[in-house]
């Protein structure tokens, strides 16, 4: 009798842990290119359907980015890379503020870019990476209407316990991190880390007033 009960318990435990493991494995196992494809298609579907977003409603665009896109970005690494050597001279509190302000700025920029999306075709390039690699570049291409060259959008991604995360985006070969790096460095050189945080905050507020001024 006792052994029977034990057996059942063991089985249940096994099943339970198997289910648990499967769940974890699923989050990790989504290939980076598949992830980019799913997110992009989700976002494009919403963009095509939502009339408010097409009319340029900033709140709705921001909400879309918040739920669909942001969870797949590693803003800490992005900010650290952009800061370069200056990262270590920032206190933990300053680092937290930097990440949060930079994140806001990028969301604003991204919202502006998405609002101008019409119905360009997006191509997904095959992933050239070995399965054991933990850092990959996922390449996509946006084909604009008319006779212009397609624009490449590449995502630099890293494998983390919580799945693949984006830490840099390159549009037409222009890296977001590299482009901000010089600006960040010269701000820190002239006005210190706090000066940079203030500039970022001011830029983010300026976006607010410009937007409310227009409507």
């Amino acid at each position: 009798m006792k052994t029977m009960k034990n057996q059942i318990m063991k089985n249940r435990l096994l099943i339970f842990s198997a289910v648990l493991l499967a769940g974890v494995a699923q989050a990790q196992d989504v290939a980076p290119d598949a992830l980019v494809r799913t997110i992009t298609q989700d976002v494009v579907t919403v963009l095509k359907q939502d009339k408010d977003i097409q009319a340029g409603d900033p709140k709705k665009v921001a909400a879309l980015i918040d739920t669909k896109v942001l969870p797949h970005f590693n803003f800490t690494r992005m900010t650290r890379l952009t800061m370069g050597r200056n990262w270590r001279s920032a206190s933990p509190d300053q680092q937290k503020e930097l990440i949060s302000e930079f994140r806001t700025l990028l969301v604003r920029t991204y919202s502006t870019a998405l609002s101008s999306y019409r119905d360009q075709q997006i191509d997904f390039k095959p992933l050239r990476a070995k399965p054991e690699e933990t850092e990959v570049t996922v390449r996509t291409e946006v084909k604009p209407s008319g006779a212009s060259q397609p624009v490449s959008i590449d995502y630099e991604m890293e494998k983390t316990p919580a799945g693949w995360k984006v830490y840099d985006v390159k549009v037409g070969g222009v890296s977001l991190v590299t482009t901000y790096r010089e600006t960040f460095a010269s701000e820190v050189k002239e006005r210190g880390v706090d000066g940079l945080i203030k500039s970022l905050a001011a830029k983010n507020r300026q976006g607010d007033s410009a937007k409310s001024g227009k409507t």
């Binding site: 060259q149 590299t178 790096r181």
Partner: protein, 237 residues
């Protein structure tokens, strides 16, 4: 020819005039460039941008695409030659195919049937050809009205201007109308990009410069530039 002279004058001024060093090693002419950048920005805000916005409001999208395609088709001829200069014969053949196909069936390039038929458009100019031949970009250089460039690309622009097909069309008034239309059409195509720039940049000047230098490098290597040292994690040192 006046374009050529003007560009020469600016290059000479920029290269020998005020070689005072700023912070960025790729931008030793920063004081000159910043002045030129703010001049261009003022002209853009006062003339080009409002005209381009009006153009986009008034002219229907189909016609705007036709105009943009027309100029894009003329570019394809020179793109083809540059691809041949760089030894990329397949791409060059594709460009030639585009040019012939669109010039005839596409009614002087107004319609772009070639892209749909699988002939891909390329982006080439003489500056990229020089880059491919191993000429370094030289210092960053902001040209009047024309905007961001480098010493190499500024010089190459002289060659590009000479081979410009719009330049070959007879009659000064026709030239001027075509130049003007092209400028407005190109600016209108950039309206969305410039609003993203406004949203993104803390300092517009350095943002444009750092994006431009990367963009040109990417174009010279046709989308696959070798990794640079700066690309690596600096914090891991």
């Amino acid at each position: 020819m006046p374009w050529t002279k003007r560009i020469c004058a600016v290059l000479a001024l920029a290269l020998c005039g005020c070689a005072t060093s700023g912070g960025n090693p790729a931008d030793p002419l920063e004081p000159f460039n910043r002045a030129m950048f703010s001049f261009n920005d003022t002209v853009d805000g006062a003339v080009l941008k409002p005209v381009a916005q009006g153009y986009r409001r008034v002219v229907p999208g189909v016609i705007r695409t036709g105009v943009s395609n027309f100029f894009s088709n003329l570019e394809d001829a020179w793109t083809c030659v540059n691809n041949l200069f760089q030894g990329k014969f397949e791409d060059g053949a594709e460009d030639l195919g585009r040019f012939i196909f669109n010039s005839t069936f596409g009614l002087a390039g107004i319609f772009d049937f070639a892209t749909g038929a699988g002939f891909q458009k390329h982006n080439e100019d003489f500056g990229q050809t020089l880059g491919k031949w191993g000429v370094g970009s030289g210092p960053y250089l902001v040209l009047p009205i024309l905007g961001p460039s480098t010493a190499r690309d500024g010089l190459a622009l002289l060659v590009d201007t000479q081979t410009d097909l719009v330049f070959r069309i007879d009659g000064v008034p026709t030239h001027n109308v075509l130049y003007g239309t092209r400028a407005i059409s190109n600016r209108a195509n950039l309206l969305d990009a410039s609003s993203v720039l406004e949203a993104a940049a803390l300092d517009k000047y350095s943002f444009v410069r750092d994006a431009w230098m990367q963009r040109r490098r990417n174009l010279v290597y046709d989308g696959n530039p070798p990794r640079q040292k700066e690309d690596e994690d600096e914090d891991s040192r």
